[in-house]
Amino acid sequence: MTEYTISLQAYAKAVLHCAKYPWATVHGLLLAEKKDGKVRMVDAIPLAHNWTQLTPMFDVALQQVQAYAKAKGWSVGGYYVAYEDTEATQLSASSALLARAVAAAGDEGAVAFVVDAKKLGPGSTQPGLVPYLSVDSQWKEQPAAFSGAKAKSGAATFVLENNRVLAATQKLVAERADIDIHDFDEHLDDVALNWLQNNALSERIRTA
């Protein structure tokens, strides 16, 4: 019966990560703040746009994000992936394994999101995220997520932080704000890039 809220920061950064590398599979992590049994995804940390099935740098990044989250009083709350094939909205076998590692690095209730590219267009009124929760060690797609429908008792609900999130994100994509997002892959090529916070972008999102 957990209620999950996705903040503008988290949603916009995940979408901008996709916008920067539209030809590739991209993935990243979500940071969660838990209060009164509710979970709020406060931020997204983009990880990679290349070799996303290969695990060593994923392991390094996950360990660093875990420590970073803890210092902020948050936890590693989720994983997002956007596939090269825009028709694919099912969590793949290898993504499921990575999501399991992410779940192990956080508290319980971690979410795996697959990005639905079809819902990312300029006029879209639906969030482009398909959530999966771990049930009996299997990742199960959550039906009617973000629909606002009264959830069956025991089911999780997903909402965006407010009704500005989609419009603000679409505006940022149109303005090519994706130029300001830097993932761990980019950081490994140039350590001066701030992949954990993406400060300049965060500020731009805040004022969007």
Binding site: W51, Q53, L54, P56, Q64, Y68, A93, V191, A192
Partner: protein
Amino acid sequence: SVLFLLDTRFNGSQRVKRLSGLVKEALGQSDEAHALYTEMLDKDATNVLASKRLIALLKAQGHIQQAIKELVTYLDTHGNDFEAWLELAHLYLAQHMYPQAAFCLEEVILQQPANHYFHLHYAELQYTMGHLDVALKEYLRVVELSTDNVRGFYGVKLTADRMLAEAKKGKGSGKKDQQSSNALRMDIVPQQATLERLSELATERLVSAYNRAGESSKKAAEKWLKE
């Protein structure tokens, strides 16, 4: 149309045929494009560009296994095309066929041994497969070929530390843990002292590299290096 004019002026031209195939693909006429490329290959089985167009078409349609089959056939004849071996490695990865992908990357490295990028790709695949010893060797080759390569040194430290941890676990249990030494291939395990020195070297080079990093990245990296 332009295509008609081209076809009239350059009748039977290979380039016009391929262009017309590309147009068909762009218009979503995949079956017609497929038929065209197959016809070109029936006339001349060694037509490299038609082969590649066919493979690209199959990949775009999501027929990965068919694309693999065609690419393997192509590589039987053109084994010196390292880019094709690289493409095949990626097709195998898409099918989670890791050993086959590794074989292809080995062919790439044989042909391009001085390019650190391919050693890096191979190292990361070997790590993913659990072959820490091979991964470590290849990461070391990366930093040899590309001075102070940050990704390379992260890999050296990650693999060396994990091998040290595995060795410690083995000692603690008192008997040779057959299961764990199968899961992580420890066939050619360097001496513990060597692993420790490699880990220290990697730490030192990373700390030096991170001097030019921003506050949060630097703190995060230094914390990771200490653990």
